[in-house]
Amino acid sequence: MGFLTGFYALFFYVAVLIFLVGVGHKIYEYARTPAPLKVPTMPAPLTTTGVAWRLTTEVVFFKSLFRANKWIWILGWVFHFCLLLVLLRHLRYFIDPVWLWVDLLQPFGKYAAFGMVAGLAGLLLRRIVVERIRYISNPSDYIMLILLLIIGMSGSMMTFVKHTDIVQLKAAFLGFLSLNWQYNLPADPILFVHLTAVFALMIVFPFSKLLHAPGIFFSPSRNQVDNAREKRHLAPWAAKLEN
């Protein structure tokens, strides 16, 4: 194992660990913190099934965003949907043999990179050009978009312009996963840029706004059933006030 491969193997483990433990801890915090009052944004569903559907329309179609602003919606949705395709396509580098559906997805996942980059570029442009969004943006908001753009563009470079040795890459990552470090990563600068950006993003995930991904499932205004008159909704700390 060369030095660079060793470094990236370590980077990989640290990033995965921080990502999993950090996000897991956040989800645990969200789950254990009570929601003492019924606060769904109305009109809200009257049943749990209804709430599941409401959340589905939010997560899959970004329904509220659609109602809010068509530009943010189209750019954001295209970016997220393409990112999903790209991520699913990447499963092929971590499993052997490759599942059939991942194989079938391959062409879509490849070209989705363009959608992802286009969506990100649009979002970045909006952030710079629209006065209101520029006002509310922190440096980290730009950095997040730029990191994702670097990931998308470096990835596309390797897919469409200057292929990296994908067989060797896969051997190395399968090795990392089974704690076997005999295969080196291809010595490809674009690959190292790609991996650095991906790992960096995983590390900041649990400490940043990227928490919107697990957060939406815990958002009381979206995940509560409208049944306040029928059911009491007493949080443990509120129950103590009754004694």
Partner: protein
């Protein structure tokens, strides 16, 4: 009026526009600060405590443990900008800190500094660039001033939460911020003084029982004079079937009181026995405005006690927006279970639900022509629309009041679709802002509603705006003149019912 000249009333445009930002346009010292005598009865420190910076940060930590909403909302915002043009105070004032996300960020910057890993690290190292990078800030007087000013420019109307992809509700954030400020001794005079009156006297206006009795007797005389029918306005009648809890403004303010007359006529014609309570003579619950679960609970428990003492079977709420939110969404949790009431009826019921059921059952007769001189539009009160329901289907809070109006009026028109139902605009005076020391904020915040209203006035010849919220009614009465309309162009929904209802044995006027 001389007073008019002192406020900068925004221009109504042909079409709604999103203004260019004017930083610090609404930077003021905020509303009057509560005095010791307003703070003490609520259990808050009388003045800014020692170490308040640290105490504020600690209180935020305590609230993070108590409210999942706060935790998720402070983490999840991606600053996408969806909410930036949705707040009526932003549209009316152009101050960027009235963008919901910017308002939230006033609290979020403290959260990010003291309750996230990078914030703690950068804070410990004293790296200013790092704090700036992630939008974190140290707690300071400057931050507190911004909190006090801008969290009292939010009417907790939830319009931003409708459009947020994660449902982040600035109302919850501003409630938390106000609770933190109360806990360190910087409360708002208007809200806290009113809550004190409820504890001491029983209602927001401080009307004692005997005065209430007098007022109600006066109303009985008026109705008998006008209709020839003795419609009763009972107070503290033990054993009545229904306890009516209504905002105290209904006892004397215009047009509120005409709504109260409407409820009484409906109860009379339905042949039910009902009463009001001098102990719980207030539907409004300002505990919500200041985000205080404890105070909200104490106020709600008064209604429970009144229901028990008077041995009623049902509770019905009068026309009041935030009151209906606390009643519909929170009261069962805060002061329940209400298993001593008749299980056939939801607890509580809204007066519009009550009236609409009677209309549907054909138990009320109306002469709709009595309202023919009016062309009506309906203002969906923000908290009714986005925080409650009426009836047993989703969206009943939109259909039921309109059904009631249409049953008693021949001429009804909706305002533009972008400004009604769950997209409705707040009147500009909700959430504890209905005080003269916030008049400038109130006038500016009314702009989007006034603009939509102007459109139906010009295109459909609409003459009156019907509302089901005491705050909306008071606010519109006050701000309509600033926009070139007449203050009496606001009516109560049950005022329309009152106009048209045919009472048994009624003499023609």
């Amino acid at each position: 009026m001389a007073a008019k000249a002192t406020f900068d009333v925004p221009q109504m445009q042909e079409y709604p526009i999103i203004p260019m930002l004017k930083p610090n346009a609404m930077k003021t010292a905020g509303p009057f600060i509560a005095k010791p005598e307003h703070q003490a009865p609520l259990g808050f420190p009388c003045e800014l405590v020692e170490n308040w910076e640290q105490k504020a940060v600690e209180k935020l930590g305590e609230l993070l443990e108590k409210y999942r909403s706060l935790r998720v909302y402070l983490d999840a915002c991606v600053r996408c900008g969806a909410c930036t043009d949705k707040c009526h105070y932003l549209l009316g004032s152009a101050d960027p800190k009235n963008m919901p996300v910017a308002r939230q960020d006033l609290l979020r910057q403290i959260y990010r500094r003291y309750y996230t890993v990078p914030g703690k690290i950068f804070g410990a190292l004293g790296w200013e660039w790092g704090k700036k990078l992630i939008g974190a800030k140290d707690m300071s007087k400057e931050v507190l001033d911004d909190w006090y000013n801008y969290f009292h420019q939010c009417s907790q109307c939830r319009r931003c939460s409708v459009f947020c992809p994660y449902g982040i509700d600035t109302a919850d954030i501003s409630m938390a911020a106000r609770e933190i400020m109360d806990s360190i001794g910087q409360g708002q005079k208007y809200c806290n003084e009113i809550i004190g009156k409820v504890f001491k006297i029983g209602n927001n206006l401080g009307l004692p029982g005997p005065a209430l009795q007098d007022t109600l007797e006066g109303l009985e005389e008026d109705v008998e004079f006008n209709t020839g029918v003795k419609v009763r306005f009972p107070l503290d009648v033990e054993g009545a079937d229904i306890l009516l809890v209504t905002p105290s403004a209904d006892f004397f303010a215009e047009p509120h009181v005409d709504g109260l007359v409407g409820y009484a006529k409906v109860f009379h014609q339905a042949g039910v026995s009902w009463t009001m309570s001098s102990y719980a003579s207030e539907a409004g619950n300002f505990g919500m405005f200041i985000g205080s679960y404890e105070n909200m609970r104490k106020i709600s428990l008064r209604i429970r006690k009144a229901a028990l003492d008077l041995k009623v079977k049902r509770i019905v709420f009068g026309e009041c927006g935030h009151a209906w939110r606390v009643a519909y969404s929170f009261m069962n949790t805060l002061a329940g279970p209400f298993d001593f009431l008749d299980p056939k009826y939801p607890v509580p019921q809204h007066i519009c639900e009550f009236t609409n059921e009677l209309i549907k059952a054909g138990k009320l007769n109306f002469d709709k022509s009595k309202n023919d001189h009016l062309k009506i539009t309906f203002h969906d009160s923000c908290n009714v629309a986005r925080a409650t329901r009426m009836g047993d289907v989703e969206g009943g809070q939109f259909t039921i009041p309109r059904e009631v109006i249409k049953a008693v009026c021949n001429h009804y028109y909706d305002m533009p679709a972008e400004t009604i139902h769950d997209k409705t605009f707040c009147c500009g005076g909700g959430g504890g802002l209905l005080t003269d020391d916030l008049m400038d904020v109130r006038i500016k915040g009314a702009l989007p509603r006034m603009q939509a209203w102007k459109q139906v006035v010009e295109e459909q010849g609409v003459t009156h705006l019907a509302a089901i919220c005491a705050i909306c009614k008071s606010q519109f009465t006050k701000v309509l003149p600033y926009y070139g309309f007449k203050l009496d162009q606001v009516v109560s929904v049950h005022q329309l019912v009152s106009n048209a209802i045919i009472l048994d044995g009624q003499t023609e006027e």
